[in-house]
């Protein structure tokens, strides 16, 4: 059909010569140009390509920072200040990188909630979804280690608190991991050195996983707001120019927000204590992680100090979970449930638009996450502890109780026959297949 023409540049002699030997050009044409995309994607679908662009921005600014940064406890803080004061446009590069980390998480969290709302994790996109969760984990590790690099008070104490968590793992494994992370017996110069090395490495690992993520995406194509499969050419558009221009417009809006932070509130999302050089002898009044970790931090702290749980296993005998271990398990569990989400939510309908009950629970869950974020920032005392615990229990209940139950009890609304039908107001070419809830590929 005419709307899926190959681009003219494929006919260029040199392009054809190269393409015959290494088909990069037909690959690009196929995946970025003709690539058929559902015609009804809304703006929530902009955040995937935005995340990719932010990743590139982080790598470019990060490599530039690394040219001026010194990973030594004696010099790290001052080298960052040198970047801020003496390196040409160093303040700009650092503020882009610093705020870029926060923007990256904003974009990724929106991207994830988009997936939750429209059921994008369901068949046949489970692996795509799981690769996304891997990217989230890698991003967290990268951001955590990056935050240590300027060697301010929060860098140091955040690193101390978080690395210490691993010591909760029993059988001596935890202590072994902690020593390995530290490169010694406390957070010190070797820790800073290995964190810098890993902080440089991990973004490139992320690039690798992103490639797999997009590969998996392109096998079945994007999900869409009504969550039914595309049924033919009338349901799709070539990626270029339709979605390239839409993504560019979204990028423009994003850059405006990003620039407002960089130029007018560059330290808004940071913590003032990180402008105090690290001092092992003076503990800050409140050690708070970066905002994007707060919900997980709240889950970590939700486990009561006197908590003791037990578990009998065939191989290991009786294991005792003390509070610290239980907290760590809960925190990692909060991400682990995302991994298995496609098998917890067995409802055959993807999009919330046709799931009247799930839609409500989605929003309750989103509010729950915001509440967790608040509780992570507030001191763990009084009523905040109680709220933190309730919100933590609800977080897990959403995945482990609500979703499996909904799949059984919810009466979903009737699905449209095809994408083009609602988009074209019923005038679309009737697609052959009758409305099946979701085709299993």
């Amino acid at each position: 059909m005419s709307k899926f023409q190959k681009p003219a540049w494929l006919d260029n002699g040199l392009v054809r010569w190269v393409d015959h030997r290494l088909p990069v050009f037909s690959f690009m044409s196929h995946e970025l140009y003709e690539y058929p995309t559902p015609r009804n994607l809304n703006y929530w679908w902009n955040f995937g390509s935005l995340a990719g662009i932010v990743l590139v921005i982080m790598i470019v600014t990060g490599i530039t920072l690394a040219m001026h940064y010194t990973p030594s406890t004696a010099l790290a803080f001052d080298s960052v200040e040198r970047i801020m004061r003496d390196v040409n446009y160093g303040w700009l590069i650092r503020y882009i990188h610093m705020n870029g980390a926060s923007m990256f998480f904003i974009v990724i969290y929106i991207h994830i909630f988009r997936g939750l709302y429209f059921g994008s994790y369901k068949a046949p996109r489970e692996i795509l979804w799981m690769l996304g969760v891997v990217i989230l984990l890698l991003m967290m590790a990268t951001a955590f280690m990056g935050y240590v690099l300027p060697w301010g008070q929060m860098s140091f104490w955040g690193a101390t608190v978080i690395t210490n968590l691993f010591s909760a793992i029993p059988w001596g494994i935890g202590d072994w991991i902690v020593t390995l992370l530290w490169g010694g017996f406390a957070v010190d110069n070797p820790t800073l050195n290995r964190f810098f090395s890993l902080h440089y490495l991990l973004p490139f690992v992320i690039v690798g996983v992103v490639v797999l993520h997009i590969w998996a995406l392109h096998v079945h194509g994007s999900n869409n707001p009504i969550g039914i499969d595309t049924k033919g050419e009338q349901d799709v558009l070539p990626f270029h120019p339709y979605y390239t221009v839409k993504d560019m417009f979204g990028l423009g809006v994003f850059l405006i927000v990003f620039a407002l932070f960089i130029f007018f509130a560059p330290n808004y999302m940071g913590h003032p204590d990180n402008y105090i050089p690290a001092n092992a002898l003076s503990t800050p009044a409140h050690i708070v992680p970066e905002w994007y970790f707060l919900p997980f931090y709240a889950i970590l702290r939700a486990v009561p100090d006197n908590f003791i749980g037990g578990w009998t296993t065939e191989w290991l005998g009786f294991i005792i979970f003390e509070a610290k271990l239980a907290g760590v398990l809960a925190m990692f569990g909060a991400i682990a449930v995302l991994f298995v989400l496609p098998w917890l939510d067995r409802s055959p309908v993807r999009s919330s638009r046709f799931r009247p009950m799930y839609k409500w629970f989605f929003w309750i869950f989103a509010i729950d996450c915001v509440v967790l974020g608040y509780m992570g920032a507030l001191p763990a005392e009084g009523i905040y502890i109680v709220i933190g615990r309730i919100a933590t229990v609800y977080y897990f209940a959403h995945f482990l109780v609500v979703l499996p139950l909904l799949a059984k009890v919810e009466k979903t609304r009737e699905l449209p026959k095809s994408i083009s039908e609602p988009v074209l107001g019923g005038g679309g070419i009737a697609a052959g297949a009758a409305a099946k809830p979701m085709e299993k590929a």
């Binding site: 303040w91 700009l92 405006i256 507030l378």
Partner: protein, 254 residues
């Protein structure tokens, strides 16, 4: 457009959702309008000059400014000769001479501000065990920034509230975390003589030194905001154009 509206709403929610945790104990500093606040803010030049005087004549007895170089003063209107005179009043270790001895030489404009004490222990020994922090980044390192600094310097109370005993060597300050601060009120009426004839009240000096230290912490502030305005204007136009292009291209789809 509906989707965009939702997006913007979501962004606002995310912003509001960032809770601010104040350091425990001190009163929150009232927010002030500084010449350098706001989108178009620039530092008040006269205040910067006066504030530099206050720092050099009062605060520098106890507090360093080790990230700022003397030559940086030229960025806020000091002449080269003035800067040379200021730096030459301090001494720094020279390169080892031919006999390998390290002598002292007058500081040059390229040197960083010389700190009053050689190390933390010396600073503590001279201050009854308390440590006067370096002031290069103090405005960025405290919630409230310059507002806090100004409130701190003017927040001393001769009489602590009933029932509160102020230990020996401590002073009562409304805004300091925990209220007991080892620094005695550093400013008193006419502590410095201003060259521009401004009356050196405690309020005036406190404002001026807060502006000076805000500059010391963020010397890029003016350039940053100026560039920011241009970048935002450029992005607004670009995004507007992209929106028009997007509408055109999608015209045949909707």
């Amino acid at each position: 457009m509906n989707a965009i509206r939702t997006l913007l709403a979501a962004a606002c929610v995310a912003l509001l959702a960032t809770p601010v945790v104040a350091a425990g104990g001190g009163k929150e500093a009232p927010a002030r309008q500084w010449a350098h606040s706001g989108l178009f803010g620039t530092f008040d030049r006269a205040a910067l000059r006066r504030g530099a005087r206050v720092y050099m004549e009062v605060c520098s007895a106890c507090h360093g400014l080790r990230l700022v170089a003397y030559r940086n003063l030229m960025e806020i209107g000091f002449s080269e000769n003035e800067v040379k005179k200021i730096s030459a009043e301090k001494e720094v270790p020279a390169e080892p001479n031919d006999d390998g001895e390290v002598e002292l030489r007058p500081a040059l404009p390229a040197d960083k501000f010389v700190s009053p004490f050689n190390n933390e222990n010396a600073a503590r020994a001279a201050n009854g065990g308390a440590y006067p922090p370096d002031l290069s980044l103090i405005v960025k390192a405290r919630p409230g920034g310059a507002d806090y600094l100004h409130a701190l310097l003017t927040g001393y109370k001769d009489e602590a509230p009933a029932g509160v005993t102020v230990p020996e060597g401590m002073n009562y300050n409304e805004y300091f975390a925990g209220n007991m601060i080892a620094m005695a009120a550093p400013l008193s009426e006419e502590a410095v003589e201003y060259a521009d004839g401004t009356k050196a009240t405690v309020e005036q000096m406190s404002e001026d030194v807060s502006v000076f230290l805000a500059w010391a912490a963020e010397p890029e502030l003016e350039e940053r905001k100026r560039m920011g305005i241009k970048v935002i204007l450029f992005l607004l136009v670009l995004t507007g154009l992209l929106y028009v292009v997007k509408r055109r291209i999608w015209a045949d789809v909707h």
